[in-house]
Amino acid sequence: MASKLRSMLPGSLPAGSRDDDKPPIVFDHVCKAFGALTVLDDVSLTFARGQTTAVIGPSGTGKSVLLKHIVGLLHPDSGSVHVLGIDMSRAKHTEVYRVRKRLGMLFQDGALFDSLCVGENIAFPLQQHRPDLSAREKRERVDHVLEMVELPGLYDRATSALSGGQRKRVGLARAIVNEPEIVLFDEPNSGLDPMTSDAIDALIHSMKEQLGITFVVISHDIVGTINVADRIAMLYQGKLIANGTTAEVVRSEHPILRRFLGRNLILPEHGDLTDPRLPGVP
């Protein structure tokens, strides 16, 4: 469905600008504390181009904090985060904004603007950054991504009339409408019913086939993660305790990892009960 995203979007730019071979996201000895609470403790991690990396870990370990470092909403106390070659905490504002224009992010609850309708929300990045597109081209693109997230014809719907799953899909449509090179997801499955959740996973999976897009998926839900991720990194109490391909990590003997995987895969009824996706919970 989404495999030809880049070439199918009307008014697409040619897929240049991705010439450099360096990893698009590099964490180098990042430490971050809020007061006495150390959230990231010497985290070094690279995200490979064109791959889907899942960052997993129990709630409250700092997964969202990690994501906010990528987009430059938070800055490390020490160490550095480079995104598309730019040091996000030391670069000038304009350079950070230039990097952000090449990113898309799906927020936990969509973060849609209440004063705009669905279509205007999705068109927002185009309105702001793509004066080169005509109104018709923008509209075509929005209609196209609406179809991709399986919400065709919802352009004029008010955001207040959307369900939780629909909000996420609209948020996803907004994240990808301007052809980002990196797409970030914060808990794409949390708070969703199993069917919508699977649909979102399928959507991520099919977009993954689009060459060159780097995905970062934050999740405490291991089941969905295994299906979509090429690589898995696990955060636990501020430290990176595992980092490898999905197959490696799933087979790892690391005790904490085993406990996390085991609880999620084998004993779901003792897992995080706020997650409606757990198998065994009707």
Partner: protein, 243 residues
Amino acid sequence: MIRWLGGFAGFVVDWFAACALKAPPPGRCMEEAYRIGVRSLPVLLTISIFVGTNLCLQGYNAFVPLGGQRLVGMFVALAGIRELAPIIAAAMVASKAGTEMASQIAVMKTREQIDALEVMAVNPLWWLVTPRLYGIMLVMPALTVISIFTTVTASYFTATIQLGLNGAVFLEFARNATSGFDLMTGVIKGFLFGIVICFVSTYCGFASKKGPEGVGQATNAAVVISSVVCVSLNYLVSQVLYG
């Protein structure tokens, strides 16, 4: 208190650094001006009318026993145009438009919409503060003038119809006591109060704690702080111009 002031000063400096020279988001200033104006107008008219009536009654009580019927018009004009109308306009705009600014922005912060703006490479100060600031700068002077005329007109009718004073004398003394300069003062005050209300209210929104409690606190702080600052600023401006 000190921390609040520091944060507020930083916020205003940030706005000037990032937005003062940048064209506002197209179309949104007029939208905000219209909203601020229309929302605040009904309550402003109502309050202005009754401030006018009471100003006249108290002027009458004060001056008529001393034989100074004619001074009522002068008193109403001086107090109404120079002091009360601008302050009333500021208080009403703070309580309608200011609280709305604070709560809207606090809700956006709670729902990660401010973060979303940043991530989409749109400066939230530019997108959220600039249109409200230019909008309020546009309408506050107008609202102040409207409040001035409503207050004085209400006083006039109270004086002539209820108290049986001579309307022509009332107007003559009102006109002689004041000048275009006083009207100008009112407009300048309105302009300044508008800027204060906008910066204070939007800052309260941006600085709010996330969650419903934070939204309530931000809304409350916006109206309290902007009213206090406007009343104090009013004293300063009057001191400079008339002291």
